[in-house]
């Protein structure tokens, strides 16, 4: 069953066709990488999948619900309930501790639960650093907090935008290992990336060029 389906989606800004009649399908539990050079429409697609933008034309089905039409309020609800976001720049609330940052996500979703947030930090190996402010954490640690924050509400889909773009090799591997774990648990992952190594970690890579799907590659060497 498809968790996400884009049917003939176009996004047009004046003359520019950021997305041009794109159709893709992501199955439940699948791990997909989206690659492409700058200006290929990756960000636009990410915004649409992340319920932060609407396509000009076409239909987007997330878990069976059309997310190409609803009000931004409804989109906020869908994003909150179904999607966990991970960003290249980490984006933590600077004046909240690691555990509090995780709890912010719980706060908007349902109920803050410090124990559960600490457990999530434990999963990413940062239980000891729970009371630290972002400024006291390394980039890799911050991104791991963001992973914990993304998974805390058990989303259907984790959407990661260049998650390792600002990390060194060691931290990149830690994050990829976390993705593998999530994948094994059945979480659907969509990772937008420049990095072929990161793309290769996924089951399948969709390559965008000039707003169109240029090709799809199934990674033969994918290890479960």
């Amino acid at each position: 069953m498809a968790l996400l389906e884009l049917k003939n989606v176009s996004k047009i800004y004046g003359e520019l066709k950021a997305l041009d009649n794109v159709s893709i399908r992501v199955e439940k539990g699948e791990w997909v990488a989206i690659m492409g050079p700058s200006g290929s429409g990756k960000s636009t697609m990410m915004n649409i999948i992340g319920c932060m933008d609407k396509p000009t034309r076409g239909e987007v089905l997330l878990d069976g619900e059309d997310i190409s039409k609803p009000s931004s309020k409804r989109l906020t609800d869908i994003r909150r309930d179904k999607i966990g976001l991970i960003f290249q720049q980490f984006h933590m609330v600077t004046y909240l501790t690691a555990v509090e940052n995780v709890m912010v996500s719980q706060y908007y979703h349902s109920m803050p639960d410090e124990e559960e947030a600490l457990e999530a930090l434990g999963r990413v190996g940062l239980r000891e650093r729970a009371k630290h402010l972002p400024s006291q954490l390394s980039g890799g640690e911050q991104q791991r907090v963001c992973v914990a924050r993304a998974l805390i509400n058990h989303p259907e889909l984790i959407l990661a935008d260049e998650p390792t773009g600002n990390l060194d090799e060691a931290n990149e591997n830690i994050v990829l290992d976390l993705f593998r774990q999530l994948h094994r648990e059945g979480t659907t992952l969509i990772v937008v990336t420049h990095d072929p190594e990161v793309a290769e970690a996924a089951q399948r890579t969709i390559v965008l060029e000039h707003g169109k799907v240029a090709r799809e590659v199934v990674n033969e060497g994918f290890e479960e």
Partner: protein, 484 residues
């Protein structure tokens, strides 16, 4: 953990861990609240302060006898009883008579007054020398002093020439031995009892005649015939003391007293008809710049001794109250033969000055509040731009517009709360300093001021947050993806 606790944790963390920016907002709210609390305190305290100050411009109420009535110190004291004690600043009685200075063939208007009170009702009076303290000490207006050349320490002989009879006694011959006196007084049932007495050479009563026909015949009426009663008068000098020199006829106490009163009254009236001269010591020259410089001032007691009358023409009252209260006091004082009226010149200008002062304080307060709002609003605006990414992140994490509004409003209100408490305390100190330095008196803390200041501060903080919140809500969550 509940959502509310997390909310509070986020709001306080934002304020406590992002100190510098929040300190500026807190400072502006705090200063605004300080000025607000201070100004409000002064606004309500200024009339009280200024009214006390303005009393230096002179009396604001006059108390006069009604037509056909007389005013005397007892009536004045009775009238003043009706005023609340803390409102009355001073009450100066005045009796104006013309006294002659025979040595210079001059005559001066002389005011009998109370030198203690006059300093309260007319604090602008300036005396070269000192105010009289002992009997037979007087003040002389500068104009008179210059005309006749008296100085501090000079002596002045003043003579009172009676022109008309004031008492109830009938006209009689001059007060001298061998004369006949006649007088009357109210007896039983307010009916008049008439008495005539012939005096011998030693001014003792030789013969007495009583007309008590208006009194009850079997009681008071007997005084004119009862020899034991009449015999008591013969050979005695006036004035007579009831129950000491004269015993009342049993069953006719009131009528008996009326007889004695009539004789004493006749004697006083007769005595009052005599010119009398007394020597006074000038203790100071009065400088006012006004008509008072043409007057001689002596104590009511001295003037009474000279004229034999305790009559007053007017009393000047200085009352600390606003115009409305003054009108109410005037109404309360009027009656029992006296009329009170406001000195419009003083009360009107006082009201006008206070009104303008309050308007000024009000205006300053409003301006300060607007400035505070602009300052807080600007700071919060800067806070919003500074936290664009954080707001975008929160929205990306699923924060609804209302959550964002709530969080910013929460921070704003919390700042308002802290600033308000700070402001209420500092504002009181500020008002106190102003009061002590400008008005020379301290003010009492109004307990209501604390909650009022806090509420207003919170409202202003909330209002200041409206624009920044609008901007925060408009932030696009997608910006967090673009790697900004």
């Amino acid at each position: 953990m509940t959502k509310r606790r997390m909310f509070l944790r986020m709001v306080t963390a934002s304020l406590l861990r992002r100190r510098s920016r929040m300190l500026i907002a807190l400072l502006s709210i705090g200063i605004g609240a300080t000025i607000l609390a201070g100004m409000v305190t002064i606004y309500y305290d200024v009339p009280r302060q200024m009214r006390a100050q303005m009393r230096s411009y002179g009396a604001n109420m006059l108390l006069m006898p009604e037509a056909g009535e007389t005013l005397n110190p007892d009536k004045l004291a009775a009238a003043l009883e009706k005023l609340p004690g803390d409102a009355l600043v001073g009450a100066s009685p005045y009796r104006y008579v013309r006294l002659d200075m025979t040595s210079r063939q001059q005559s001066f208007t002389t005011a009998g007054t109370d030198f203690t009170q006059i300093r309260k009702t007319s604090p602008y009076f300036s005396v070269e020398g000192r105010y009289p303290e002992a009997p037979r000490e007087i003040l002389v207006g500068r104009e008179i002093a210059e005309t006749i050349g008296v100085k501090e320490g000079s002596d002045m002989e003043l003579t009172w020439q009676p022109t008309a009879r004031q008492s109830e006694g009938e006209a009689s011959d001059d007060w001298k031995p061998g004369a006949t006196l006649s007088g009357s007084a109210k007896g039983f049932g307010d009916a008049m009892v008439y008495v005539k007495a012939k005096l011998d050479d030693g001014a003792r009563i030789a013969e007495i005649q009583i007309d008590a026909s208006t009194q009850t015949p079997e009681y008071g009426g007997r005084v004119s015939e009862e020899p034991l009663f009449l015999k008591q008068f013969v050979g005695k000098s006036l004035p007579l003391q009831m129950n000491v020199e004269i015993d009342a006829l049993s069953g006719a106490t009131i009528t008996s007293t009326a007889v004695v009163d009539a004789l004493n009254g006749a004697r006083a009236a007769d005595a009052a008809a005599q010119p009398r001269t007394t020597r006074y010591r000038v203790t100071g020259i009065l400088v006012t710049g006004g008509e008072e410089e043409g007057y001689v001032f002596m104590s009511t007691d001295d003037l009474q001794a000279l004229t034999g009358e305790d009559r007053l023409d007017v009393a000047e009252l200085s009352i600390s109250a606003d115009e409305e209260q003054l009108n109410a006091y005037a109404q309360a004082l009027t009656g029992d033969g006296v009329t009170a009226r406001l000195v419009k010149r003083v009360t009107k200008s006082e009201t006008a000055v206070l009104g303008k002062l309050q308007a000024l304080v009000f205006l300053v307060t409003v301006v300060v509040l607007i400035l505070t709002m602009i300052c807080v609003s600007t700071t919060m605006m800067a806070v919003v731009s500074e936290r664009r990414r954080e707001i975008g992140l929160r929205k990306a994490l699923g924060a609804s517009d209302n959550s964002i509004r709530g969080e910013f409003l929460g921070e704003g209100m919390f700042l308002g709360l802290l600033g308000g408490v700070l402001g209420a305390v500092l504002g009181f100190v500020f008002a106190q300093v102003v009061s002590v330095n400008v008005f020379n008196s301290s003010i009492s803390f109004q307990p209501l001021l604390l909650p009022a200041t806090v509420l207003v501060s919170m409202a202003i903080a909330a209002a200041s947050c409206l624009m920044p919140i609008k901007r925060a809500v408009a932030i696009d969550p997608a910006l967090v993806l673009k790697g900004e």
